[in-house]
Every structure is written in C-alpha cells, then in structure tokens.
Symmetry: C2
C-alpha cells in the first residue's frame, strides 16, 4: 500500500484521496501539519507542501497535479472507461486546465485563506503563526466564492461532468475544493442548482465517503456536510 | 504556425518559447497585457492569465505546464534523445516537481513581485493598478532569491542538467525564471558558480537567443544580460 502525507481540510490532499479511491486503491494516510516544518517531512519535500505520495520504493512524488499524472501513467492508462483522464491531447489539456483552476486559482483566491483563518489559526500557537483570524482576509476570500460557484454551475449545466461526458480529474479537483468550503458552511447551494445536482452525484460515490467522515479539532462541519440529501 | 499569447518578462511565457525553440518549431507571438483584461483574450482564457497557446484548430491551451504536457504528447514523444521529458513515470514526476518549483513556487515568492513592482507598475496607469513601486514588496521578494539560487546551485552541482543527465523541462523552467531576474540585475552570479556554469550552457543555446533580444519599455536589461561570457 502506498502512503500519502495529507491534511484533511486541504483540497489538494482530498483530490489525491478521491483519485485513488476511484481506482479502488487504498492509501496509508499520514496527517502532516506542514506549518511545523518537520525535518523528516522536509527531507521528502524541500518545498514543505502537501500532498506528498510515497510511491513504489518510497520515492516521494510531490504535489497534487504531479501525483495525478503519475497515477494516470501507472494505473489510469489501464482503466479503460473508468480512467479519470482522456486519451486525446486537447481533451487532456482541458481537464488539466480545469483541475488547475480549482486546485490553484480557487485555492489562491478563496480556499487557502478561509482554511488558514477559520481552521488553522485557532489550532496553531501564535509563535508559529496562529492567533486571531483576520476578518479582512475572510471577507476578501468570501467575495471570490461567487465567481467560482457561477463557473461551476455553468460547467455542470452544459456538460454531464465538468470536462465532458465522463468523470475526470476536473470533477475531483472541483469537488475537493467545494467540499472544503462546504465543511465550513461557506456555500449557499440553493443559488446554484446545477452545481448542486452535480455535487450530489459526486458526494454519493464510495470514493467520497472517507472525506465525509473527516473532522478537525478546531471546527465541526456544518450539519448538512455529510448528508447525501442536502 | 501556432500562436502564443505571451508577455516578454513573464517566466511562464519564456518557458513555452524555449520549449518550442528547442524543438525547432516557430511560434507566432502576440504580446498580451493581461492587466488590461481584453474581452477577446478572456474569451480564450476566462482566468485571464498567460501563457495561452492557440493549438491546431485555434483551440486555446491554457497555462505553461498544460502547454508543456500538450507539446510533449503531440511532439516531444517523437523526439527521442531530444525529448524534453523522460519516459519513466518517476523521472517524469521529478521533472514536473522541479518545473513547478520554478514556475509556481519561485514565481510566487520572488519573480512575480519584482516584475510587478519594477517593470509593470511604471507602465500601467494608476487607475489600472500601476503607480509607485512598493519597496516592502521588493525587499521581501529579494530576501527569497538566495534560497532559490542555492537550490539551483546545488542541483547544477550534483547533476549534469537539473533533473538528470539530459536537458528537460526542469532546466527550461529554471532558466526562464532566472533569466527574468537576470534581466533585472537581481542575481549575483559570482556566489553561485555551478548555477552560473549551467546557465551559461543554456544561454548559449539557439533557443535562448530570442529571449536575449527581449526588451520592455519601462526598463532596459543589465549590461551582461545578453552577454554569453558574463
């Protein structure tokens, strides 16, 4: 079994767990707190970021998109219609663009700030950067949620899955990010019916179940978080 | 001929130009000023970021790493020992990790800030976000240069090219980023002899020549910028 260094409320960690889950491959999970900058962890990834996969031979594979490509090259390519990627280079580019949209753009504009201010700061000693949440940062991040929800709603309304007719990495990236915001109660689903229908389908998949059981000490999820009929 | 929307002093744009240059494939270049948020450009890439490649059939391929994967799938795979990528999935993961290090991590910590403050702000009307440079942002970015130079020096000292025995995307990503800092006179090469030797080799390649001719209106390069014996 391969090992994943992850943090439960980081979208990029969730993305990797979902991808392995879709392929029915279990991961040994190690919860890493990257803000502690553990020496042993920095030896695996000098950038100090999550997720990190220990692949065959304990070789570290660093970063969500790098792990996704590795997973496709070593497993996905054999999965036929269950493959989370496409065969055609243009379609692959579109899946990568969308995965990057959610795992980088939305992460930078929204998720990272809300997780840091609302989840991590209460957990982290102030000497390590914890302390009171910055309400300005929370407000700025919240003001960016709408454009990502509108875009997701539009994609979900025009395609069966976000990148076309099949479930792909694009869906897992979007769902990872939205599931973190949903845990925090930041999404008003009633405004985005197509996104809600799409997310309900994803949430009901067996690969999603472990994520719905995630809890962090500093904050419980909103009541509908694990509810399949929300 | 394919078309690339780019900006001369953006590392991620340079990276794509170098990659096509290494394969001897010319690109039609369109200089895009993404801060203007042109409607026609946003229609190609709703994220409003560079670079964007118009591939076969004018289909937009968005983002440096997505373009690099597309280029590998449609051209690189046929280039044998001139391929800028590896065949082995673990080695591919290492190349992707390093490319991401320079195009994302170093970009976020260093290059983006210095380009914005020193090159773009003098060019952009204050109503669009231009104006006086923020000396605090410049100082913070400069303090991060050293770790990236030390890491590059270490990689260049232990391997023939940054990701192993062959020239790969990792080298092009690092050189793109460092060439922007070098244009701005931000690198003291005498402190990093192995990085300098590696960079000299890259700078002498035909693919690099167009970059050495780049100029932006707001700032001339330092005197040694285009000098192959610096």
């Amino acid at each position: 079994m391969l090992t994943l260094f992850h943090y439960p409320l980081f979208a990029s960690s969730r993305f990797v767990r979902l991808a392995f889950g879709e392929y029915g491959e279990e991961l040994a999970l190690i919860e890493e707190k990257p803000w502690l900058r553990r020496k042993e962890f920095l030896a695996l990834n000098p950038a100090g970021t999550l997720p990190v996969l220990l692949a065959e031979g304990d070789v570290p594979i660093v970063g969500a998109s790098v792990i996704a490509e590795y997973l496709d090259e070593t497993r996905g390519v054999l999965k036929r219609e269950r493959r989370l990627f496409a065969e055609d280079p243009m379609h692959r580019a579109e899946i990568r663009r969308l995965a990057d949209w959610y795992l980088t753009k939305a992460e930078t504009e929204v998720t990272r700030h809300l997780v840091r201010e609302r989840v991590l700061k209460p957990l982290i000693p102030s000497v390590d950067g914890g302390g009171s949440p910055d309400s300005g940062a929370i407000r700025a991040a919240r003001s960016n949620i709408k454009q990502h929800m509108k875009y997701t709603n539009w994609l979900a309304g025009t395609r069966n899955w976000l990148a076309g007719s099949r479930l792909t990495y694009a869906d897992l990236a979007a769902a990872s990010m939205l599931s973190v915001l949903d845990y925090l109660g930041e999404i008003d689903w009633s405004d985005y019916p197509q996104a809600k229908e799409w997310y309900t389908r994803l949430k009901s998949r067996p690969s999603f179940r472990p994520l719905l059981g995630d809890r962090v000490r500093s904050m419980s999820p909103v009541s509908h978080y694990a509810d399949l009929d929300f």
